[in-house]
Point group: C2
Chain length 651, copies 2
Amino acid sequence: MAHEIGTIQEDEGIAVQRRVADYQPPRSWRTWLIGRPLQTADAPHQAIGKIVGLAVFSSDAMSSVAYAPQELMVVLAAAGMAAIGLAIPISFAIVGLLVILTLSYEQTIHAYPGGGGAYIVARDNLGELPAQTAGAALLTDYILTVAVSISSGVAQITSALPALYPYRVEIAVVLVFFMMVLNLRGVKESGTVLALPTYFFIVLMFVTVILGLYSYLTGSLGTVVNPPPLETVLAAQAVNLFLILRAFSGGTTALTGVEAISNGIPAFREPRSRNAGITLICMAAILGGLMVGITFLAVQIGAVPSAEETVISQLARTVYDGRGLLYLATITATTLILILAANTSYAGFPRLSALMAADGFLPRQLAYRGSRLVFSRGIVALALVAALLIVAFKASVTALIPLYAIGVFLSFTLSQAGMAHRWWKSGRLKPGDELKERGSTLRLEPGWQTKIAINSVGTVMTAMVALIFATTKFRDGAWIVLLLIPVLVAAFSGVHRHYRRLAAHLSLENYGEPPRIARHRVILPISGVHQGTLAALRYARVLSDDVTAVHVSIDPVEAEKIYHKWEVWGKEVRLVILDSPYRLMIEPLLEYVEEIAAQRQPNETITIVVPQFVPRHWWANLLHTQTATWLRLALLFEPGIVVTDVPYQVE
Amino acid sequence: MAHEIGTIQEDEGIAVQRRVADYQPPRSWRTWLIGRPLQTADAPHQAIGKIVGLAVFSSDAMSSVAYAPQELMVVLAAAGMAAIGLAIPISFAIVGLLVILTLSYEQTIHAYPGGGGAYIVARDNLGELPAQTAGAALLTDYILTVAVSISSGVAQITSALPALYPYRVEIAVVLVFFMMVLNLRGVKESGTVLALPTYFFIVLMFVTVILGLYSYLTGSLGTVVNPPPLETVLAAQAVNLFLILRAFSGGTTALTGVEAISNGIPAFREPRSRNAGITLICMAAILGGLMVGITFLAVQIGAVPSAEETVISQLARTVYDGRGLLYLATITATTLILILAANTSYAGFPRLSALMAADGFLPRQLAYRGSRLVFSRGIVALALVAALLIVAFKASVTALIPLYAIGVFLSFTLSQAGMAHRWWKSGRLKPGDELKERGSTLRLEPGWQTKIAINSVGTVMTAMVALIFATTKFRDGAWIVLLLIPVLVAAFSGVHRHYRRLAAHLSLENYGEPPRIARHRVILPISGVHQGTLAALRYARVLSDDVTAVHVSIDPVEAEKIYHKWEVWGKEVRLVILDSPYRLMIEPLLEYVEEIAAQRQPNETITIVVPQFVPRHWWANLLHTQTATWLRLALLFEPGIVVTDVPYQVE
């Protein structure tokens, strides 16, 4: 029973009753899987603090230090081992870019306390098309992050346990759905689960780097014992600008995942912007420190980029003097963080799709919160598409990698350009003026010229990285993403057009309501005269005094029987027997209805009352022609005609 | 526009109008494929004469002379080539059995002019369970006939053109659907197509046999040149009763297909029984003559049963002195008749399933005639199951054969037993007495004792053949059929029980009709206030003065908006706002409806009027929660509650 809050009796005589439905969702396998449903009022308690937030939103970014230094070094190796020393200045350049991105996003977080990733910034400052492009790029990238990180984590597992190699696709898919369930439980609980391994990884990485630097300073840091053979992915060449740029772009894979926090601001505890901003800066500091530290030490120990042994592994066994406990812990932590990196997407994808759904670019259902207050449909959609991708690419990181990162840098570019435009707008305001925008308020910003400069440099840098990615990896798979993004943008526009048109059609502005329906005709198709038909007849007579029963006859003997039964039971209601020479049931009835509809007056409505048999077992439906269903489908598109099924349950 | 036949104004004041819907089915790809739809009144013109009837109903039986003599000889070969001479007396025994079967079925055809295969004879004379068993056996066998004959015909093609061997399953499936289309066009047209090859085969076989006999009598018949190596499927053994019985049962595969005509009587031109009877006798005479003739000549020329070269091929090249034109024509005709043998099933299966559907053992839809007046659903069902079987068994005749023939002989046994019982009943009648039965009239039959004797011998013989088949081929696949038949019988009973219960529930006998509905409450769930909602509100107010709008709220801001809009547009109709703390839409509404339903008076009905948005494009449905559909499904099982969708079309 619902309990009543109260009845508001208005002057105009309209009674409005307000009640809380205290329907208790029953316990089921879902309860067991994702926990008991939460009430909407429970929402704020689900918000997370900085410590958990760092774990939830940074595992993607953090995990990239496991492969970014190597990606950087492998390009330089084309110019010989001596050129690898260039990795150190390049890593500083990447950290420089990281600083620009962090500054920009920190500003964004404060300008957009409701959550402001590239999509929102582009939407508010650049317009609809750039916003949709940013959205498409980000959604694609979130999906790829899940596919790539899980596949890469599974690759680490199967390197350790080769017996599992034939099952890598299955393991990856199971992990994808395991993370889906974790995230369906809710961000706080999944955050708690994830905080531990993330911090485990961070601590171990810092121990490795600090110990390494200490050894370096005390002069006791040696070089890699038995380094793996050098792997060159490029033809041997001299050091030139293109090579350096390419190495730089390889290293920038460390920056994927920086976006996550700015989209996730609403998940933070109040004051949200402040907490999110601090978390972002912490993350950038850790990420930058590790990036430079690992690259510096890797160069010092003469680590060799190779597919056989990762640079991290070479560094760890050099620092820890062999494959001891700390070495194993470091490798385990790396594997874990790679798998958990997928979690960043599980936090980001549903939020972004909910945002875009609320703006009418994606199906509205993505904006509804599920039983645990998370955007369940987005989480499930992400898991399904990522699993499909893993199956299609057979969980191969090598095959997936070229699709990755273009999306991130495209969205970075759009976000930076948007912020630059924002500062320019801010610079044109008079002191004290305010410009209200959808998601934020714009005022004259002191130092807006510097900010434009920072963002412009950022725009150019990230655009360049995106371009280099797109051109150098086009044939390896980047073309898929470059094709997919415009397709997605077109789909978003289609969805948006649909919702906008619908809203215009349904709008009550300037709406002249048609007068009340004056005449109501009821047509009652019958296949026989029995208890079910009579129940429908009783109902039809409640609806209107103007009832006509119609029997479509394919058998004259049957028609005769019906006619005689109708004399007894038909309550003097008109009966039309329609002979159907082609033995069709629906079509003659439709023809008859349309004939009546064509003659109707302006304020006349027609209702077709169809007796519908409801069997006890589903299979019994196969034993009946589903006339009611087909009739409803056929008449769905006729304005002013309503089809009502009167179900008769046979127990 | 329908044209009116007339209005019958009855004394009681009930007006009955009778019209012919002259809805013209539009031309479409179906017209192209199976011909223009036919009116029910066209039906008699579709009946077939004896010449076409022989072709339509006998291709199965005829085709078996292509393999039956060989099946017989291959068993005898286990006792050495000398034992093969026994084939001649055994072939006479088989013809004896054929005579018994023919006599019995000829009597059946006259006793059951409406069509009387084993199913009807068993139903009227033995009871429901034997009838269902016969039905299950026959339906199974019809399906197997299609699978076996088509596969065997394709095997002949691929022997000639080995390049096609990898595509044998595809070719077989295409042939199955080609025959389906032929039969959907209607029996007369498909009969015309089939008459030619069937008569081609009969003529060539007779030419071979007569020429062979002439050579034999003039002493110029030689022996097979280069006979293929002897193939023994059994261990070498002496001649004993079991071996002879087994050879006999192998040869009785010639008798499969004899049933077809008696089921197909309604397809014949009037006088039906006479025409069908004559056709049956013609068929038996041809079949018997060919069976004995081929076996006799095969023994004389020393033909060797072998998988490498068929006995027919050996006979043809001996009679025609090598592989000349007549030899090639004989082989081509054999291939064609094997494929067309499937057509017998396409005629028999739909008729039998229509009969069983009319008796309520199969879904009623199988008894409806399609646009070309044939039982289209039966034809399509047969094609689908046979195609599935061909795919599952990879079009292998060897794998399918053990499943085959048990069904036929089981149904023969039941039919013979039924006829024997019928004569016994007839013998107990006084002269001049009549016993009316469902499908026939029973009188004292002169010579009923002889008839009992004939049918009893037939019952024992066919039962024995069925038993020998079941035991000797049990492990090769016969177990599948022995398992399937009881499963089918159980399914038939389930269907029958459903229809019987339904009829009892709907019956108007002793039906005290409940009084007219006194109170009608309308509940109008709304998700917003817009043109669609208002259309539904207008409709709801036509239905009743007692309307309550209900809004399930998951967002207080939205609820507030709806409340204010309702003040303007709600026409003073009561509004209930149901807060849903768990953000569920359907469940709180259902709870509310059930609360109202629990309080209702005896003569009260509740209608839920749901505004349903109908998009222009199907994909737009993905952009909306299908509340109306879910609600209807959820309330389908609630007696006394009607759900009406008021569609609003957005153009």
